[in-house]
């Protein structure tokens, strides 16, 4: 080996030492803990809204053609039916989701609806493939890259429809374990009631809160506010612009809906009781 070659030869230990020395060149500074937490809270609050705005997932079915199997006050109160057991994929809602209608109303002669679909967890790749295809047929796309990633995971989609238009996915996620919200935890997204564009006025607020939450206050940009309270066993067929409901197959919390009066838009939402 020539002297020149020797000079240019580095061991992996040398590389590690060079890296360690180079890493010392950074100014560490003080950890910006509060900025990180503020940023984290903003991310959490924005997570769903951003997902809705950037994906603008349009579902193939219209509100008028949906069948709502999971009615408030019924199976929804019994929690998730996806516990391990001998239940068939159909019984576990792997290929057809449980649907719970949250709210509906009429504006300018057109009916709007908000509902949540919960797809049971596939147990193997075959079930996952079929579920992926079934989701595709209904026009929704889960938060995974490929069908195999659905195995063992529950997916949910909250959606809204307006008139005969196509449905819009407001919030969605796919996860192995549903985080149970507690206390004043709240996750929400605001979307337009009738349009799908990212600049459309965000009047419709959909989100979820802890099972213990008795009141959610949605504040609007003009200073007004709307209070959502548990709807009890009232049917969603009854027009309501603000309420809290359990959702069939979703054990992580209850869901709420608030609709802003015309002319104003969403500011924020908090659990107030």
């Amino acid at each position: 080996m020539s002297a020149d070659r020797e000079n240019h030869d580095m061991t992996q230990t040398d590389i590690a030492l060079l890296l360690a020395d180079a890493a010392d060149g950074v100014e560490i500074g003080i950890a910006p803990v509060q900025a990180v937490i503020r940023g984290g809270r903003r991310r959490r609050a924005r997570r769903w809204a951003v997902a809705a705005a950037t994906t603008l997932v349009l579902a193939g079915s219209t509100g008028a053609t949906l069948a709502f199997a999971g009615l408030p006050g019924g199976r929804a109160d019994r929690g998730t039916p996806t516990a391990p057991g001998p239940a068939s994929a159909e019984e576990r809602h792997v290929y057809r989701p449980q649907r719970t209608e949250l709210a509906r109303g009429t504006e300018h002669g057109r009916q709007w609806r908000v509902w949540v679909e919960v797809w049971g967890a596939p147990r193997d790749a075959r079930e996952a493939d079929r579920q992926f295809a079934a989701m595709k047929r209904t026009g929704v796309r889960p938060a995974v890259d490929k069908a195999a990633d659905l195995v063992g995971k529950t997916s949910y989609f909250s959606m809204r429809s307006y008139g005969d238009g196509r449905s819009l996915v407001v919030m969605f996620d796919t996860h192995q374990r549903t985080d149970r919200l507690t206390g004043t935890d709240l996750m929400a997204a605001a979307v337009s009631l009738e349009e799908v564009g990212p600049t459309a006025p965000e009047r419709l607020v959909v989100g979820h809160v802890a099972k213990s939450a008795r009141e959610v206050t949605c504040r609007w940009k003009d200073g007004r506010s709307t209070v959502a309270r548990p709807a009890g066993s009232a049917s969603a067929a009854q027009d309501a612009t603000a309420l809290i409901r359990p959702v069939a197959g979703y054990p992580g919390g209850n869901w709420f809906v608030c609709l802003a009066p015309e002319g104003t838009v969403y500011e924020d939402a908090h659990v107030t009781r």
Binding site: H8, M10, L18, L19, D21, A22, G25, G40, D179
Partner: protein, 179 residues
Amino acid sequence: MGDGKQTRNEEFQSFVVGRWPRLMRTAFLLTGEQHAAEDLVQSTLEQVYVAWRRVGGADDPEAYVRRVMINAHARRHRRRLREFLAPKDDSGLVREVADTGDRIAQADDRSALLEALARLPARQREAVVLRYWEDLTETQTAEAMGCSVGTVKSNAAKGIAKLRAIPGLADMVTHGGRK
């Protein structure tokens, strides 16, 4: 909820304070630039905060943090922020490796190493930094990068080979610039 949430917040704050220096160093090697490193670490920790309820109680929160950071780094790279990653002078052109004869100051040495790292493709840089700075096993590195052990081996080997091929960098070692 109050107490549980308060405890989680305190745990998270301790985690951030404790891990910040190490994460900054890793991010600096990945990005090659102070502000980019701060930005990468801060956005990584913000994402960790969102998932802290799950992550904080996990056996190995570090593994989750590394995965988030590498994903964030890869995303930035995919967004073609390559110019953001490579140190530049005022002309906006990536600098040539400095003349080895003039290399005395340690800062210059560091700069040369960072330039050499910045020239590596992102996946090779990630593999080199995780294996030889973070001192992770190939399996841990594969988990952080979301790829197979074989891919880690291949990327690390290529990255190291390219670093070795840079004459100025090898001289840094042979001229006693490192302990």
